[in-house]
Symmetry: C2
Subunit: 214 residues, 2 copies
DNA sequence: GATATTCTGTTGCTTTTGCAACATTTTTGT
DNA sequence: ACAAAAATGTTGCAAAAGCAACAGAATATC
């Protein structure tokens, strides 16, 4: 595993990485599918980096509804200071969808220039800036989808984002239909009904999780 | 006007501020209410800071619907790299609600350490990090509101956020009802109808834009 | 390879939301 | 102070979305 491949350590040599991680007391941990990586209730301000596997940031409302706030792929970054604030009647957690390996770094240590005054710490902060910028971008995209008024508009908006991201009118949904409905914050059967209509009207082609915009 | 009051220049002396702003070729401009401060279509990567007045980040869909993506108060920061990506069938702009004064800084110059190697540039970047972190937080809150399923849930969710922010069960809506409906991405009359019901059921007290949770 | 479990897709019914048109109130501009 | 414009609030009707219950398909488990 090369740390320097991670976006957070871009332009930092592997040696410097290891030294810094040591200096920041970063910890690595393995998780099994379904396990909870991180709960936003914990008081410690920690940044997590997904090294391998798939995970999701999930909110459980106390009335039972569940929302997928974000999908995390390897190199994905999460944590208290990066986003998502649990409210009084909900809790937020990062949950593994497959087996995962995660790196944890204390936020204070990450942003404070250490007494060893690593010159590369500046680079680290600049990288963090970029990551936050990216995160803001993806949150904005999510807001764009959610602020569509109808299920069809939500679907199309998200499809266009995926298509733009892959630069192709054919793409794969990164969700089960159940999770997809939770992601769009709509009723699953209403969503599938709408997908059916869109298929009939010739707007899209769809087979399982592969979708083509026509 | 003291620049060092601005969050972006926190812990930077007024002198250093002026020197850096000069070095980064920052420009200051005045706008009238209703004017467009900034459109996200422009190719230049620019960061704007609202020095005075009220403005909003607005998306106009080509089908006519309008969504308020964010409200900006003095010291608010906006720009391409900080958030919001216009899609093929929408455009995003920052629009003044009152007369405004805005400071523009080139993003490249802001994040690149200048050749003069101002030591305070490091501080500037750290401040930017904090601002982005805050922005991410507010976007997350917005996602939380929008991912509620019904109008009532959206209203309550947003009210709780306002109440938590002001630490009081009485607070002022920062919107007209029209803008508020656009912010929640719901129909205005349906929203007002729901507010009426909630009032009747004794959940809230409401008079004009002042709301009390009961 | 049989069984259990999860996921996918369908449908009728109910509820909620959106829409349009209007009356009333408040704000703005001169 | 007055007129014009904008914002607020109401309502009936239409459309969309949610819900529940179910059947079939795919996947996992042993």
């Amino acid at each position: 595993m090369n740390y320097s491949e991670n976006l957070l350590f871009q332009c930092v040599s592997e040696n410097d990485c290891r030294r810094m991680l040591d200096c920041m007391k970063a910890r690595k941990r393995d998780f099994f599918a379904g396990e909870e990586i991180y709960s936003f209730d914990t008081p410690r301000k920690i940044v997590g980096i997904l090294l391998s596997g798939q995970a999701a940031v999930v909110r459980y409302e106390y009335n039972g509804t569940r929302s997928i706030l974000e999908n995390l792929s390897p190199k994905g970054i999460f944590g208290e200071h990066l986003s998502f604030v649990p409210s009084d009647d909900s809790c937020i957690a990062v949950v593994c969808q497959t087996d995962c390996q995660v790196l944890f770094i204390d936020y204070q240590r990450l942003t404070a220039t250490c007494q060893n005054a690593c010159s590369c710490h500046t680079q680290l902060i600049r990288n963090l800036l970029q990551l936050l910028s990216d995160k803001t971008r993806s949150l904005s995209e999510r807001v764009e989808v959610l602020s569509q008024r109808s299920i069809r508009e939500k679907l199309m908006c998200y499809f266009m984002q995926l298509a733009a991201g892959k630069n192709s009118s054919t793409f794969e949904l990164p969700f089960t239909m159940i999770d997809f409905a939770d992601f769009l914050s709509v009723n699953r059967s209403a969503m599938i009904r709408e997908l059916g209509k869109m298929k009939q009207e010739g707007l899209i082609r769809i087979s399982r999780r592969t979708i083509t915009l026509l």
